[in-house]
Subunit: 455 residues, 2 copies
């Protein structure tokens, strides 16, 4: 019996996972002056705002969309299409009365959505973690839930333009752009039932056409609940300033948490800049992976040929490959092109590149010295580098929890770069061998300690 109940609950939740999203993309968005108009089509790193919202929802498991269009409806419908391209289903509702207000736009979708649906604005970017959180909240048939942000000092909105909320005991008391007393911000992300349409019908009858007016009616009845999503990423792309802010945040999010010191200070600031430029073109993350690999191969070859000018060029190429190595992941995250295969391909090609660069350096050092110790050092540097990469996944798990020093590819290739600059390859190989092998052994000790603590 318990099991059956359990399965039933799971089924309910599963149905919940196949929910729809209603996106309001009918307004004009006049504050954002942009050569691309209407606003939902404003591009951010090669994807329009509305595309970003659709792909973000898809990551949260939403596959069906109803989009209310009004201003330049044809253009949006033509550009976005039926969703096949994004692996989702999109239906459109055209609202000719879009000028009246966004409440009317929502109301037009009545009958086109299911019992329970997400309500989203085409100009609000957000992280899927908000939807994941919202999905798991239980919702009464007569209620709606609004995600609110309690960080009133945040710079991800313009306090003069944003819709404010007075919240008490997880319910909205007052909502509107011009209310005097407030303690939260409306993020424009809702989980709704049919009750929103009833409320909007009533507010329209009263001659109030904004979504907030309908929400105020729901709130008056105590039926507009709140979900606190303070700290999660969301941004109202209302004007040029907000657009630039959104871009900065997206760029920052495209970097990895486990970056090493060279990556954080040198590579990432450069690679994210490059990625944000590349994002406007049709360059795939895998193409960047191969390009960075090609640079590393060229570096290895130049090292192999030996002689100072070539060694210097090889060192610069190695560091360049290290910088561009970040772009594939950044592009993937910026443009929703993440693939597990791509991630693995990058890692394996990095190992080949590391190995061949060390081989090239060893050969160059050999020609300089004809001392067998060089080969020995080269082998040990390779063993050390590989065991570093081999233990990286486990070790990253640990430093995710508590910060620790990370000796990774960024540091190794930077040492190669400096060594080449100074034309000190034998010494560089010895240094590489020592620090990488010591690092692997150190990680084993950290790992043993961690397992003792957790077991």
């Amino acid at each position: 019996l318990g099991l059956i109940k359990f399965i039933k609950v799971l089924q309910i939740r599963k149905e919940g996972g196949e929910m729809q999203a209603l996106i309001v993309a009918a307004g004009r968005g006049s504050r954002l002056r942009h050569r691309f108009s209407p606003k939902p089509l404003v591009p951010v790193f090669g994807l329009s705002l509305i595309e970003r919202i659709i792909l973000r929802c898809k990551r949260a498991g939403i596959r069906e969309f109803v989009i209310v269009v009004g201003y330049k409806a044809e253009e949006i419908m033509r550009k976005i299409g039926d969703g096949e391209r994004y692996g989702v289903k999109i239906k459109y509702v055209v609202n000719d009365e879009w000028k009246k207000g966004n409440g009317v736009s929502v109301l037009k979708a009545r009958g086109h959505v299911g019992e329970k649906f997400f309500l989203l604005m085409a100009d609000h970017l957000f992280d899927e973690s908000i939807l994941e959180k919202l999905k798991n909240v239980s919702l009464d048939k007569e209620c709606c839930i609004l995600c609110i942000d309690k960080d009133l000092e945040g710079d991800h909105f313009n306090i003069d333009d944003v819709t404010k909320v007075l919240e008490e005991e997880s319910s909205v008391k007052r909502i509107g752009k011009k209310i005097q007393e407030y303690n939260a911000i409306d993020t424009g992300i809702f989980l709704c039932t049919d009750s929103i349409f009833d409320a909007l019908e009533e507010s329209v009858k009263r001659g109030q056409y904004s979504l907030s007016a309908g929400n105020q009616i729901l709130a008056d009845r105590g039926k507009l609940k709140t979900l606190d999503v303070t700290g999660h990423f969301w941004v109202d792309v209302d004007d040029e300033i907000a657009l630039r802010k959104a871009k900065r945040i997206l760029i920052r999010q495209s970097a990895k948490v486990s970056d090493g010191p060279i990556s954080r200070r040198l590579n990432r600031p450069l690679s994210t800049r490059i990625s944000s430029l590349l994002a406007h073109y049709n360059i795939t993350p895998n193409q960047m992976t191969f390009f960075s690999f090609f640079l590393a191969l060229s570096s290895a070859l130049l090292f192999y040929l030996g002689g100072y000018p070539r060694i210097l060029a090889a060192g610069i190429l190695a560091q360049l490959a290290s910088i561009l190595d970040g772009c594939d992941g950044e592009l993937a995250r910026l443009k929703f092109l993440f693939s597990k295969f791509g991630e693995k391909l990058d890692k394996v090609l990095d190992r080949f590149a590391d190995g061949l660069i060390i081989l090239g350096m060893t050969r160059a050092a050999w020609v300089q010295t004809y001392n067998e110790v060089v080969w020995f050092a080269g082998f040990l540097a390779l063993i050390g580098s590989f065991t570093n990469s081999y233990t990286a996944t486990w070790y990253d798990e640990i430093i995710k929890k508590k910060k620790g020093f990370r000796l990774g590819r960024d540091v190794r290739l930077f040492i190669v770069f400096v060594g080449a600059l100074l034309n000190q390859l034998p010494f560089t190989l010895i240094i590489l061998a020592i620090i990488t092998i010591v690092e692997t052994i150190r990680r084993l000790f950290v790992l043993r300690y961690e397992h003792e603590v957790t077991q």
Copy 2:
């Protein structure tokens, strides 16, 4: 509301996970003639039968035990203790009337166990997957569940001695050692409620003292349900033949699924034999890891020194290290000494060993030929070997689903062994370089195909 229900169901299930096990260890087990007596203390690879059952239960999340002792009760209580050593809690119930039958032993535990508990026999070994399966079945307060095996032809029991079951529609109709009509075997693994005690009291009143007699009363009321566990490992260690059979199965289970061809045919048959001998001594898996690493280091050193007799010895040591490399995992699984750190330590030391053996071989080949190509080949062999290991975890996931060829450490070290035997080190390095690099590239293609299919 749905969420609250969901949490409640989860809580019920969690409580289910903290259940107790009642182990019947009161009988004499006279059929198993063994210098160790009583039967629950008969050792199997360094652990007694009852220790194996406790540790198996622990793996399924059971932390509290009630053990009914009778024959040589003192000895069992002294040897097993309060469970602290195993990280569990053990209480004992002494049954002076153990000679009457095992039904009386179960009945003595009344009041010492909770609402719902596993009922297990001290002489039945099994896999924790059975308990995991049983844990997830919902159970009415008035019912008990018996795990049954429908493979009547199996060799994991003696059909003349085993308790048989006539099952209809997931309920036991008849149960006993001597029933004529049957379609399943009693595995001795139950999930019980208080109802078992009521039934046993009634059967004892009738002068029937076996557990089966009580079960027949439950069955007559339609309250003894069945769970089919055909195919899961369980064995009734009733006599010497069954004991040997159990050992064989445990040894087989201690090997890994992802073994390569050399491992399956040569290394594993030898290493499991060595492990089954070592299991009787206090040798830890990590000690075996270090011993195998030491052999590999010796091999690398002998290669490095060069000259045919040493090269031959180095090749033999490499193959020996490869064989003993299996023992740590086998010992861990045989003796419930599995640790995540141990597994990782083994992997990292294997990488150092691989690298140093190739370095030694390269040096020996260099001294033989003074041809730079040898260093080149050595480097590439190292890059290939490492990228093989680097991609092994992902690749193993794939060949678990659908069988494929596995080029692993077993094959690589066997090639080293053959190369040393034939004193063909330069050629061996070239072969190693080619096949390992080709294998890594092949794996990338397989991986890409898999991801395309699954996405």
